[in-house]
């Protein structure tokens, strides 16, 4: 959002001429109105979470305005950050997301490169197939997956269910198709002559990938990595279905299952937990925002 605002502000003085300026101003005002509406719409829930996280349980249930904190306290934060259970959730989430991003990127970069560039029999069909798998709703998949893991258990004796690392096996089925698809698009926008020049210069296909494609497509790769991270960080359904022991839970499920005891909702801690849980993706976005935007406008900006 800051980027958008800066672009407008930066471009405004360069506009010249009466009617164009007036026209422009109208458009600008309109876009600001909508931007503000958007910001309000999307930032109200986090703001509400933040306010609630600073309250005691007593104040939350008291009959006062929910939009103001009368006696702010960091107790919720201290409790959570010193609670071994919460820290375990956090650790599990980080481990799962890191592995998923790594696996996804390796597989989808290699897959996208071969589908986009190494013309082989059926490569076009396969590329479409990859995208189609993404269209299957997650909810349809977890019963077959349960069956598969049960079958594998019978076969190998390894217990898959109720281990955090089972998520590392599951999530790539969600992330790889989409990331491969993004990367195919990005790789296809790299001119063919670039490969040919590199092949003539003596590069092998692997060098072509590592020395030309990956660096040139870096914004796209980062966009895909952020996507993979967000999906695995925020996934709720699968961890709920596949993990149950407290020490194997990831954040989204952990917060809900341990902080809601029976019908007692510990709202202050739930909000704090969710807010802290949302921090890593936010920090990641903040650092990679420029790359992310460049990645989403792939090809348009390439010189």
């Amino acid at each position: 959002m800051t980027t958008t605002a800066q672009t407008y502000a930066g471009a405004a003085p360069s506009a010249r001429g009466g009617s164009i300026t007036r026209n422009r101003r109208k458009v600008l005002i309109l876009s600001y109105v909508f931007l503000v509406l958007f910001v309000i719409f999307f930032l109200t829930p986090p703001l509400y979470m933040f306010i609630t996280s600073l309250k005691t349980s007593a104040e939350i249930s008291a009959e006062v305005s929910p939009w103001w904190v009368f006696s702010p306290t960091l107790a919720n934060y201290i409790q959570l950050l010193t609670s071994p259970v919460y820290l375990t959730f956090f650790r599990n989430s980080i481990l799962v997301s890191t592995f998923v991003v790594a696996i996804t990127m390796v597989v989808s970069i290699l897959a996208a490169f071969s589908l986009a560039r190494m013309k082989f029999w059926g490569s076009a069909t396969l590329a479409t197939g990859v995208f189609l798998t993404y269209l299957i709703p997650d909810t349809l998949l977890f019963i077959p997956m349960f069956k598969t893991f049960a079958f594998l258990h019978d076969l190998t004796g390894i217990e898959f269910i109720n281990h955090w690392w089972v998520l590392v096996i599951i999530y790539p089925t969600l992330t790889i198709p989409f990331c491969t698809w993004i990367m195919i698009g990005y790789f296809s926008s790299i001119p063919k002559e670039l490969d040919e020049a590199a092949l003539i210069d003596g590069a092998s296909y692997m060098q072509l990938l590592t020395k030309i494609f990956v660096p040139v497509a870096l914004p796209g790769i980062i966009a895909a990595a952020i996507f993979a991270f967000t999906v695995s960080w925020a996934q709720f359904l699968y961890p709920l279905a596949f993990t149950t022991s407290t020490d194997q839970l990831v954040l989204p499920v952990g917060i809900v299952t341990t902080l809601i005891k029976g019908d007692v909702f510990n709202w202050g801690q739930i909000m704090t937990g969710a807010l802290l849980g949302a921090a890593p993706p936010l920090i990641l976005y903040a650092f990679l925002m420029d790359y992310y935007i460049a990645g989403l406008t792939a090809g348009a900006t390439k010189g």
Binding site: E193, I200, K302
Partner: protein, 366 residues
Amino acid sequence: MAEVKLRQVVKMYDETPAVRGIDLDIADEEFVVLVGPSGCGKSTTLRMIAGLEDITGGEIMIGDDVINDVPPKDRNIAMVFQNYALYPHMSVFENMSFALRLKKAAKDEIRARVENAARILDITELLDRKPKQLSGGQRQRVAMGRAIVRDPMVFLFDEPLSNLDAKLRVQMRTEIKKVHQKVRTTTVYVTHDQIEAMTLADRVVVMNGGRIEQVGAPGDLYHAPATKFVAGFIGSPAMNFIPCSLEEAGQGLRIRLTDDIGFLVPEERAGRYRPHAGSGKLCLGIRPEHVLEQRSQLEPNQQVFEVGLDVTEPMGMDTLVYFRVNGSEVCGRVNPNAGARPGERMKLVADLNNMHLIDDATGKVL
């Protein structure tokens, strides 16, 4: 450095032929230009030499080796592409040294060779820039530099100048010629621009429909085209073609264009043309620069005729005049002071020393 030989080279895309059997011998240090209309198979031929396309049939040799199944990187060639194909994330130095770095050449050697190539192309001060900080002409130089650094046996160019504006194109054309005179590497250059072909080439290869129409020095193609296609393709404005018949005229032969206009065939050609006298589909080919204004002193075989002009185009150095003869539009090139005016009649001179008689049925120049 090396010669390149093509033996009955064929390229099929599925069932459609792109190249239909090409024989060509390119000598060491020679600059050969492949020229022809769009889709005639120039790029395909070049890319087969580069190893970027499989060869459906025939053989390609570089030096003494058949390289049909050798991968591009082992053919010891360098290629310059129309869109330059510079690696966008690398500096000019890194672009130029990429091949050497892949070969793990010594650092000093890499630096020396890049700097040498940069000096030849006058891009020494650009070495640290990224491609997007360069102008079109500079990118073109870097692309050439990348080729020179590798010191290959053969240079391949695929329309390297067509992304540049007209003025820069002429400038880079000279530049390419200069570079070739310095490094003397065997070069195959593809273009659809016949002026580029004429100015650069030691020998021009005119291609049409996947075949070679004619191979020859630029002057030979201009003065002695073998086919109607080459006659029409080389030269600008293009050669005029006028349907005609050939009739006996006493001792000699006459080319009859219309009832009013007929030219006596130059004596030295009469013997060659006589077998075709009376035969149906003939065509007179004469370049605009050989249709002149009337002069007081006519050389032998320059013959006067009179026509009504349709259009005149002053070009500065001379004026192009357009008129119709026997249903064909004809262009002539006259002195700007000859008083050519559209809609008026004018006496012109045809220089038959430079005429061509074409058999329309076979397309061959007789």
